[in-house]
Symmetry: C2
Subunit: 149 residues, 2 copies
């Protein structure tokens, strides 16, 4: 597994969706994940670290986990199937580890609020969907629309 960081979230005009760009610390590996507008906003807010005026859905998650004394260990992007990314959230309750399946956007929105690491399994890089904009985005991100968040 490779630890990756949220490098950027930007709006992709051609698909009219947001793209979350994950990148490893040495910038050797980059992974784009298409996400919804709500998730884009939530990850941006979590990343900025400024508490929202009203707790959003992912903040409620943190509040519940805090109450239950459950620690967020990591978010793991585990596989891609037919262009859909799958992930899980790894948690620690007392001395027992467990995980729940989640969309990458939810797992990352929660992990980023807890400063927990984000991992991507190596096989994901071999399963990346052949999206028409994928190469272009990585080769020349400056040519795409500016980030909205």
């Amino acid at each position: 597994m490779i630890e990756m960081f949220v490098r950027e979230i930007f709006f992709d005009g051609s698909t009219k969706s947001y793209i979350l760009i994950l990148q490893d610390g040495e910038k050797n590996s980059t992974l784009p994940i298409w996400i919804g507008p709500f998730e884009a906003q939530s990850i941006s807010m979590g990343r900025a670290g400024t508490p929202p005026e009203r707790p959003q859905t992912h903040d409620l998650f943190i509040s519940l986990l805090d109450h239950l004394k459950i620690k967020i260990l990591s978010a793991v992007v585990s596989r891609v199937e037919e262009g859909t990314f799958f992930a899980s959230l790894h948690l620690l309750s007392e001395s027992s580890e467990f995980s729940v399946d989640a969309r990458p956007s939810d797992a990352i929105a929660i992990a980023i609020r807890a400063q927990a690491p984000i991992y991507v399994k190596e096989e994901v890089f071999h399963q990346i969907p052949d999206h028409p904009d994928f190469k272009q985005l990585l080769d020349s991100p400056e040519e795409t629309d500016p980030p909205e968040y």
Copy 2:
């Protein structure tokens, strides 16, 4: 506290937002709560009871609570302050009850998935903001835009 049900969610053209209409079983009390598009969609999906193709954020909540054997007792809309509604989600872990503060939309989206009751405290009805569209909506809901969900 009065038990209320989700009667309808519709789009209010004048404020460009969604309105969740809660109503008691005897239709004596009605409460409109302005919510965001993501929350409107999530409550509608939870209400329909059809599992989504991919678990959404509120489904992840249910999945986590199931894993932890935590029962959802109720969602309670508790007060209104300067036009903002506050709520809490009441939960049962083993034999211990606890609650977490939440936006009404999150509390209701989660409760409705667990078929848990939704309660509104009596004082909320005296604290309802004097929204210009409020009376019109209740008097003639058929004159507003049709629901999108």
